[in-house]
């Protein structure tokens, strides 16, 4: 007996089409993985080399587990430089990003062409990782903290502008309309009306970027751009993995501490 009271075999509706799609996707993924893992074309996932070198590696791992605490004083100056770079880059990046974020959002910049150009440029800038910028900048301006700071700024601005302009776009257009109705120019209403609403998001993203900067600046020195990275490069050349281990511990501590502090502040912001 079926639902509408008639008897007879059930009329089962047809299964929806397109169920092959996930299987196709899985097949594509498997194919790509196979190609990228093969020796000729790709990465050569050859674990036999690892098996051979294992003993070698085991010694190093043991070294890593015994940090050289006496090395601590020599890490202080590079550590401070790392933090300085992160702070300066965040400040400069934030100052540059604020007007650019207003420029990139539709609500605060009605001119689509200018917005489009800015967005494309920023997307291009964001495609290059910070270490690559640092590497090229070191060749341009020399070794030290300056190329590191510039690299971080380039890295920051793209991120902050993208996130803050998205936050602006999610705001209400009404208050800005009221400002224009009162006779304000676009710049005036942006400053007097849009900015106060954008402020919490901006501070939030700046703190987030500060965290990223601290993590990034720990390794920028590997290409000569200042901070702990220079020390890391030095100790690894001498295979002093115990000293490396101390440096890693310090990085962990800083990152975790800043992460906690920053989260606490960001929670109180909204």
């Amino acid at each position: 007996m079926t639902a509408d009271g008639t008897s007879g075999p059930l009329r089962i509706p047809r299964r929806p089409r397109g169920r092959w799609k996930p299987w196709l996707a899985l097949a594509v993924v498997a194919a790509i993985t196979a190609v990228t893992a093969s020796p000729q074309w790709g990465v050569a996932v050859a674990f036999d080399a690892i098996a051979r070198n294992w003993q070698n590696g085991a010694l190093k791992i043991v070294q890593l587990l015994q940090p050289d605490w006496a090395f601590w004083p020599r890490t202080v100056a590079p550590l401070l430089e790392t933090l300085q770079m992160a702070v300066i880059a965040t400040v400069v990046g934030a100052l540059l990003s604020l007007p650019l974020s207003l420029w990139a959002a539709k609500l605060t910049n009605p001119h689509a062409v200018g917005r489009g150009i800015l967005r494309t440029v920023l997307n291009a800038v964001r495609s290059v990782p910070d270490l690559l910028y640092a590497s090229v900048l070191v060749a341009m301006v020399g070794v030290g903290a300056l190329p590191g700071i510039i690299a971080l700024v380039l890295f920051n601005v793209g991120i902050i502008v993208k996130l803050v302009s998205e936050a602006i776009e999610s705001n209400d257009a009404g208050p800005l309309e009221a400002g224009r109705a009162a006779g304000g120019s676009q710049l005036q209403v942006n400053r007097a009306i849009a900015l106060p609403d954008v402020w919490p998001s901006f501070i939030n993203q700046t703190l987030y970027v500060f965290e990223l900067n601290v993590r990034a600046s720990t390794v920028l020195g590997l290409v000569g751009a200042g901070g702990l990275g220079l020390l890391i490069d030095a100790v690894r050349t001498y295979y002093r993995y115990d000293q490396l281990s101390l440096i890693i511990l310090e990085i962990l501590v800083i990152v975790v501490v800043i992460d906690l502090v920053s989260s606490a502040i960001r929670k109180r912001l909204v």
Binding site: V43, V136, A145, L222
Partner: protein, 265 residues
């Protein structure tokens, strides 16, 4: 008679924190080892280098650049896949309601620690075992990936609506069945989304890993930068930007399809 305004409230906390922040910032600017006077020459210098790089990029070397890019992307792909394979079961164990408390805390701690160590350092550490090969890069990306994917994974599982889970449990399902039928359907779009996002990040990181010699486009970039062959450097930068932006665009399109068109099967 003029109206008398109420007094303006002053926030102590705001003032103190502003002072602290300003002090830290000023101290940083002042104590950092940078000759600020060089900043004046900087724009002109940079303009000159940009001209050297982009006025006549060395397109003849493009095939080599593309080959190296393929290696970097392959590194990123394997690293992502390995990371997913290891992280996904771990993130289930680390989620509230699926793993016992001590295991959860241990896993979460592990994720945090792995996440905090930059990939390039991981690569340096495992270099001694795996050598200067792209595999090292892939493994470094995978290991770091376990930390990030693990965290996103358990957060996603915990954010799944409780209803379907209770339904499966109530009809007597085992834990694996709860996972497959209660959690997985709701969580899939999010998982796929951050897997793709992680791939995007890994593509960028793989270029960076080349800097320590594991191969890929970063390797090529470092060499030509050291030789100061700016026109090749310019070409390489263009290649990096174009490839990364394309992968980002494709990945974003797929992610949009996934989150908007998520259908139950």
């Amino acid at each position: 008679m003029s109206v008398i305004a109420p007094p303006k409230p002053r926030s102590r906390i705001l003032l103190v924190s502003a002072l602290i922040v300003t002090a830290v910032v000023v101290a940083s600017f002042w104590s950092v080892d940078v000759t600020w006077s060089r900043l004046i020459d900087l724009p002109a210098d940079i303009a000159r280098y940009l001209w050297l790089m982009f006025s006549a990029p060395t397109w003849e070397k493009l095939p080599e650049a593309l080959a190296q890019t393929w290696r970097s992307v392959a590194m990123a792909w394997i690293g992502t896949v390995l990371g997913i394979v290891v992280a996904t079961p771990l993130s289930f164990l680390a989620a509230r309601g699926f793993g016992p408390a001590p295991v959860r805390w241990a896993l979460r701690g592990l994720f945090s620690v792995i996440r905090a160590v930059p990939e390039i350092i991981i690569a340096i550490i495992i270099l001694s075992v795996t050598g200067l090969t792209p595999l090292t890069g892939a493994l470094a990306l995978a290991i770091n990936g376990v930390g990030t994917l693990g965290k996103w994974g358990y957060e996603s599982i915990e954010g799944v609506p409780r209803g379907p889970i209770e339904a499966v449990r109530a009809s007597g399902g085992s834990t694996s069945q709860v996972l497959r039928w209660g959690v997985w359907p709701s969580a899939t779009p999010e998982f796929l989304s951050f897997w793709l996002y992680r791939f995007e990040i890994n593509v960028r990181s793989s270029a960076v890993l080349g800097l320590i010699g594991v191969g890929g486009i970063g390797d090529m970039l470092t060499s030509y930068t050291q030789y100061r062959e700016w026109s090749t450097v310019g070409m390489l930068l263009i290649v990096v930007v174009v490839v990364t932006m394309s992968i980002d665009a494709v990945s974003a399109a797929i992610r949009r399809r996934i989150t908007e068109g998520a259908r139950t099967r």
